[in-house]
Amino acid sequence: MERTLIGKPLVAGSAEGRAVVSTQPLSFWGGLSPRTGEVIDRRHERSGAIVTGKIFVFPRGKGSSTSSAVLMEGIRAGTAPAAIITARVDSILALGAIVADELYHKTVPVVVLSQEDFDSISEGDYLVIEPDGRIKVRPAEGKWA
């Protein structure tokens, strides 16, 4: 069954894909490789996951101020997530997407959800993000079985 969440778009755009979900914050620099799209923070619960082309759902950024550069480089190189959904406004990640948008005219939407809506997204859910921040959620197969 499809449902719709209403988020706040920090960087507005359209995207769709499968959700890669984490409950832990992540610093993109030192935590995500712009060469491979792999989560490389070896202390992170999703270490080894590839987020390229996925909707990366995690509560917030942390750590390095180079995280915006890592996101922009991932967007340039085509390794970035298709979109980012967080539970808190993360200005550094929004910045990376905004500068990439200005420089390359490539948009990776960044949307903030309420904690409750954020928690309702599961690994593998298929998400469709609209420019106004609406997110259609199709549950991963077998979720309701």
Partner: protein, 426 residues
């Protein structure tokens, strides 16, 4: 939401101040919406982290700004870059990599930035004043500027820093405003022995613990000694800004906005009060290492953030305390620093102690950004919480965290060596 712009802001946005100011202003206005800021405000200094990462997009952004006539409008310092500009030829770095790094360096100096090339700008040139409104990048520098100096900056990410430097403007929000600088969480150091409160390692363990606990909130630490050094607070902040998103902490009686608890919390009650005991700090200490005692080391890295003159002095003392024992053959011990600290070191009287032991001094850069350490390296040791946090991901190594003395002893043994330490537990 609409942002209220001044006439001058509008002129910058419409291109009357050139193409670079226009691009910078349009990024700042989009960021003002992200921050929910009603207007922009002036900053009088900037520190640029956008030069740190070796990547094509960062180079392209910087060169685009130069091509559009960018010029910084406030005094602006530069973070470390991915190259030791003076010594790279001796470090087996490819000329392609060096050329790109040199182009990044040229672009930022062309814009009028001061070539400080350091991640510890607060220990060099243009140290901000108390209350000064600044736009700083580099997580460890941000937390130091806010907490220890009492200057005011948000956690600015790469490329917004240069936009602020060009326009002299930032969104009026966050830690620029006094009301957002109040403490939120009180951390009380409970039952920590006085001699341990003077141990450098405590500051790293506390920072690592605190960052993971408070994330983006403003913690107030009660119980640090009033004579905690700048280098200790630098280590604390760097660790907290790695395990968490800390941009400002207060330490009661130590940092300038926390003379009393009332002042630190601006008269409010803490959201929560947490007692931090030795067991919490021991856990944080052990989390920082992924390598075990006795494992053979390939490299030891000190100077994350960049070493100060005082830290060089401390290192020389740690080496002298080993009574002439020498560095294990084949093991590298690298110290990262700025040209500014290096200039002082050259005039000090202990440089030979360091060089005779085999210390390699690397300027301007960072082992996590410049290929200084061989990609074959498997295990490294550091006295830095920040380096210990990021090295496993960035370098693919196992890491051991220890004090400066642990690092020197391990350098002699050639293997991770903590000896008898209070941190390992009873």
């Amino acid at each position: 939401m609409s942002i209220s712009l001044t006439v001058k802001d509008r002129r910058k946005l419409s291109g009357q101040y050139g193409g670079a100011a226009r691009l910078a202003m349009s990024i700042l206005i989009r960021m003002a919406e992200v921050y929910g800021a009603p207007e922009l405000m002036d900053v009088t200094q900037a520190h640029i982290d956008g030069c740190a990462l070796m990547c094509d997009s960062g180079l392209e952004f910087a060169e685009t700004l130069v091509a559009r006539g960018a010029r910084v409008s406030v005094p602006t310092t530069l973070n470390m870059i991915p190259l030791d500009l003076q010594n790279w030829r001796r470090q087996r770095i490819s000329s392609e990599f060096a050329n790109k790094a040199n182009r990044i360096a040229s672009a930022y100096t062309e814009m009028g930035c001061v070539p400080t090339w350091t991640c510890a700008p607060y220990q060099g040139y243009l140290t901000p004043r108390f209350g000064q409104q600044i736009a700083w990048g580099e997580s460890n520098a941000i937390v130091y500027a806010n907490s220890v100096l009492g200057a005011r900056t948000n956690r600015y990410g790469d490329y917004m820093d240069i936009c602020a430097a060009i326009t002299g403007r930032v969104p009026k929000s966050g830690l620029h405003l006094k009301r957002n600088r109040k403490g939120q969480i009180l951390l009380r150091l409970a039952d920590i022995a006085p001699q341990l409160l003077r141990d450098d390692t405590l500051y790293v363990a506390l920072g690592h613990f605190m960052g993971g606990l408070v994330q983006e909130k403003v913690p107030v630490i009660e119980g640090l000694p009033v004579d905690a050094t700048g280098d200790q607070l630098k280590a604390l902040g760097a660790a907290a800004a790695s395990s968490g998103a800390v941009a400002l902490f207060h330490a009661l009686g130590v940092t300038p906005e926390a003379n009393t608890l009332k002042e630190a919390f601006q008269g409010n009650t803490p959201e929560s009060v947490i007692d931090v005991g030795l067991s919490d700090l021991r856990r944080a200490w052990s989390e920082l290492s992924t390598a075990d005692e006795g494992v053979k080391l390939d490299a030891i890295v000190l100077g994350c953030p960049h070493f100060s003159y005082a830290e060089f002095q401390q290192l020389a003392q740690a080496i002298e305390a080993e009574g002439g024992r020498s560095l294990h053959p084949g093991l590298r011990i690298i110290v990262l620093t700025s040209q500014t600290s290096y200039a002082l070191l050259q005039r000090g009287n202990f440089m030979n102690t360091l060089l005779d032991f085999g210390i390699e001094i690397v300027l301007d850069t960072c082992v996590l950004h410049s290929p200084i350490i061989s990609s074959d390296a498997e295990v490294m040791m550091t006295n830095s919480g920040k380096c210990a946090y990021y090295a496993p991901g960035e370098l693919g190594v196992q890491v051991a965290f220890g004090s400066m003395r642990d690092c020197v002893r391990s350098a002699i043994e050639g293997a991770v060596c903590w000896g008898r330490t209070v941190w390992k537990g009873p």
